[in-house]
């Protein structure tokens, strides 16, 4: 298939690995911050092909995994409201909150429906005018414009029973928070591909400039990722720390103006809780005043008690790149894809799920 097959050529991958080996003179640690990169790296076996001097770390790039327990608890409380339909992306359904999950609530009678798109959720609202329909707005900058479009449509059409619960996260502040924490040594970032389609590669300049970390925006196929690693190694060898784009067919430096305009019309930034990283300033999105009435928390009190994550679960440390799943006491022993204790094992993009499926 065009725009896929060209980037899956094993001979080309072999050539790139040779180039990487020739350039790799010292230990380097590169972090990817996109769940789709995590899966692609594991599925293609890239880790096992690289020289041992190169360590690939997975960062907070899976939107479901970084959703805080308190947010999951809010979603669960929402599902318990009378005459309410909760519409959600499928990945969220099995994520454990402090004492339940959306899946368990659904088994107990809550009306929780998995949708592919925000407009599917809007259709549910149109078909059920006597009930309150709430979309769980999780995801990064790739998903947020699609939510913004649905919010605008709701207001334009005067649909009175559709709401969202904003739980979006913005990637660059989380990258900065990781570095500011000081507990993590990273030599380069493999920057997310489709988040960058929207925000543009310039968004990573503060990370590159302030922390002197090379940043390269990567595509998703094996050859894309190998070229990205080569580009990062080249920067490291030359002592550079700039933002480059490997995924040029889809990403530019300034981003998608139309999507960004949609975003800023509907949302403004706010502080947001991240699993494993705590509250990060200006890393979330809330509805602007014009659209605030569509935030379900203006209608229902969804305050939940502060909770602790499962004491044995290392998802937070794994999302910060300071542990791997192999360091977690629950991993594989009791925490498995069919019995997940934490979100990194639930989501197909989670680091624990990727390790479970692909790691020897």
């Amino acid at each position: 298939m065009k725009h896929l097959d060209e980037y899956r050529d094993p001979h080309l991958a072999g050539k790139l690995i040779d180039k990487i080996k020739a350039l790799s003179h010292r230990p380097v640690r590169l972090m990817e911050v996109c769940g789709t990169h995590t899966v692609s790296i594991f599925r293609s076996g890239i880790r096992s092909l690289l020289p041992p001097s190169i360590t690939l770390l997975s960062g907070p790039g899976c939107p479901v995994c970084v959703t805080a327990t308190e947010e999951i608890d809010k979603f669960i409380k929402l599902g318990q409201q009378k005459d309410t339909i909760v519409a959600t992306f499928g990945d969220l359904v099995r994520v454990p909150g402090s004492s339940s999950s959306l899946q368990k609530e659904r088994a107990d009678g809550a009306d929780i429906r998995v949708v592919y798109s925000t407009f599917d959720a809007l259709d549910i609202a149109r078909r059920n005018p006597s009930r309150t329909v709430v979309f769980l707005a999780v995801g990064f900058e790739t998903t947020a414009p699609t939510i913004a479009a649905a919010v605008k449509e709701t207001k334009k059409e005067g649909i009175g029973n559709f709401y969202i619960i904003p739980a979006h996260k913005i990637i660059p502040p989380a990258m900065e928070a990781l570095l500011a924490g000081g507990e993590l040594a990273i030599d380069g970032f493999i920057c997310p591909g489709h988040v960058s389609v929207i925000i543009g590669a310039d968004a990573y300049r503060p990370v590159a400039d302030k922390y002197h970390i090379p940043c390269v925006v990567a595509g998703f196929e094996p050859v894309d990722i190998l070229q990205t690693i080569y580009m990062l190694l080249s920067q490291i060898e030359e002592g550079k720390a700039i933002v480059e784009i490997q995924y040029r067919r889809a990403v530019n430096f300034t981003g998608n103006e139309k999507a960004l305009a949609l975003l800023s019309e509907v949302f403004e930034t706010c502080d947001a809780p991240w699993r494993g990283l705590g509250t990060i300033p200006d890393s979330g999105l809330r509805l602007r005043d014009n659209y605030r009435a569509l935030d379900i928390e203006t209608k229902f009190d969804l305050t939940v008690p502060r909770t602790q994550d499962h004491p044995g679960c290392s998802c937070g440390d794994i999302l910060r790149g300071v542990k791997t799943p192999l360091d977690c006491v629950l991993y594989r022993k009791v925490c498995t894809p069919s019995n997940p204790y934490g979100p990194c094992m639930v989501s197909t993009e989670g680091t624990c799920a990727a390790y479970y499926k692909y790691h020897d």
Binding site: K2, L12, T36, T142, P145, T146, I198, R249, L262
Partner: protein
């Protein structure tokens, strides 16, 4: 969740497009696309929305780089 895939535009209707990848067809919205696509273009689709038209010129540049790697015997 963030899996966004390149799909080819088959039809255009107002604010939606019918796209195809390997025989899988779906209707996607065009609210957030960077420029209006034409039939035959490849677009990146995410959660029911086309978010970007693949830049064929840039794709060629990347593929040209790969060809250069193949041609570069010193890399073996």
């Amino acid at each position: 969740m963030c899996l966004a895939v390149p799909m080819q535009v088959l039809e255009l209707k107002e604010n939606t497009a019918v796209v195809d990848m390997g025989g899988t067809r779906k209707a996607v919205r065009l609210d957030a696309i960077d420029r209006p696509p034409t039939v035959g273009d490849y677009v990146i689709v995410h959660a029911g929305f086309a978010i970007h038209c693949i830049d064929e010129e840039e794709a060629k540049i990347t593929l040209q780089y790969f060809e250069e790697i193949f041609a570069d015997e010193t890399s073996r």
